[in-house]
């Protein structure tokens, strides 16, 4: 008996939905030339998008490469002929490494006085409260540890930015100036040492009558009062 072949469906043209951003705004129109030749414009219309993605991918890749070269502690040693450049790169690399180590220790072991305190700035209820918080840090290259103790009847948010670099001098804080020149500055600021120069507690005492708004101060290091960070206090409306 002759074996009959079983009829089969032809293979489907596609096996997954078309999720192409190219058709997001509908089918593209064929060009006049392609209409005359009876062709669709798909290939020519998508070529610019492919070109555009190639350009932006290449651009971002170059940016990443530049950033990696900047970050690499010893950089491209082969390209550094100058001994002074090598020394600078070595020191920068060592500083980066020690800061990273400090950050890691800090993450694993919170500082004394921080364990029992709320850590979210701005989460204070009305009424006199005292709280401390670990500031957001600008990059990983800093070893200055700042705690905040805030006394305020208003809801408030504190942001501290520590500039990158090593901090081994005593730190002070300028009075906090309001962004509006007519508003009196906040003078109730005090910096307490936590046993070493690179760890301090900033105490902010906000008088009840202090108007809401944004107040900025500068963290200053050593007798030469070199800026080593900034502090912003935002007193919110009731």
């Amino acid at each position: 008996m002759k074996k009959r072949s079983r009829p089969k469906k032809p293979p489907p043209e596609r096996v997954r939905p078309v999720r192409d951003f190219g058709t997001l705004f509908g089918e593209e129109k064929p060009s006049a030339e392609e209409v005359s030749k009876g062709k669709r414009a798909k290939s020519s219309a998508q070529a610019p998008v492919a070109d555009a993605y190639r350009v932006i991918d290449d651009y971002l890749r170059q940016g990443r490469r530049a950033a990696e070269n900047l970050w690499t502690p010893l950089g491209n040693l082969a390209g550094a002929g100058e001994p002074s450049l090598l020394t600078e790169r070595f020191l920068r690399g060592a500083a980066d490494l020690s800061s990273a180590w400090f950050d890691m220790l800090q993450t694993l072991s919170p500082a004394e006085g921080q364990r029992d305190a709320p850590t979210a700035p701005g989460a204070f209820d009305a009424g006199k409260r005292q709280a401390s918080s670990v500031p957001r840090k600008n990059g990983a290259a800093s070893s200055l540890h700042v705690e905040i103790a805030l006394q305020s009847v208003r809801l408030a948010q504190v942001t501290v930015d520590v500039f990158p670099g090593q901090h081994d001098s005593p730190v002070s804080l300028s009075i906090l100036h309001a962004t509006d020149a007519k508003t009196p500055p906040l003078t109730g600021v005090e910096v307490q040492s936590l046993g070493k120069a690179s760890a301090v507690r900033v105490v902010l005492r906000v008088p009840e009558a202090q108007p809401p708004g944004r107040y900025h101060g500068v963290l200053l290091a050593g007798p030469e009062r070199r800026p080593c960070g900034s502090l912003t206090l935002e007193l919110l409306e009731e």
Partner: protein
Amino acid sequence: MPTREAALVRAVLDEYGEIASRGIEQYLDRARNAEHLGPLLADYPSRGGRSLRASLCIAAARAFGAPLNDAVKSAVSLELLHNAFLVHDDIEDDSEERRRLPALHVLHGVPTALNVGDGLAVLSLGPLIDNHATLGPRVAHGVFREAHRMAQESVEGQALELAWRHKNDVQVTSEDYFRMVLKKTCWYTTIYPCRVGAMIGHRRDISHEGFVRFGFLLGAAFQIQDDVLNLAGDHGRYGKELGGDIREGKRTLMLIHLLHSAPPAVRSELHALLALPRRRRGDDEVAWVQGLMRRHGSIEHAKNAANQLAGAAAFEFGIAFREAPRSRDRDFIEALPHWILERA
């Protein structure tokens, strides 16, 4: 584009454009009494415009949670710099009109117009300095750094375009074109406003590449659509002389397509035409090139490219703004790729 989205884009552009205009006036007031300069500084800003850049900056900041006032100074600075670029661009391109009126150098001569452009660029630094009071030193410094990068990218892009024209380069590819547009148009029109807005909203530096991708694709669609309108738009609404890009020998996507698709004999003629000084490319020559572009599908090619790029921008929007909660400002930015294609 659905009417609701179109109405939203118009409403936000009007609202934020008005806020930016008031801010610009404050800074222009400071220079009002400068002899032979003050009134001229106000000329281009007073001619109107859509304030797309300022609106995008404010909307991006608000989409990420910033109060309105935090983004206004950055938006004002950008609009002032944009006007400075326009004055200088008009000289470099030898354009005759800007926003339906004679270009500044046509009215007052090139040396004076150059100085007015410089003046506007200097004026744009003021709001960035004043950002310190509003945003605090860290974020203000971050915005300033972004502004520096944006300005640098923009002048590098302009240098590319000027060099192609100066050397009468007919080998330019669409990849070259996108590289130029990324720098010349996208950085200050779309990438910078998004990045700065996000930085103000987040109150930290932005390394997120999503804004560069979204801004680039949106800005490229915007530029190509602008080039199409230069050929086939409504003069009353476009605000510049139609066909000006051909007269100026600008390497638009349409011209690049034509140069690569025309037969060798036509390409040689085009090469010779582009080598002529601008004043020798009159209405007849412009019409001839336009006809060639139509015959070879260059205009349709550009329209399709703008369409596709806007689609790609809509795709990248979802990635770049995924952290922003649903809001009027987020909806406005999401609607921009559609709006760019439909503006006349």
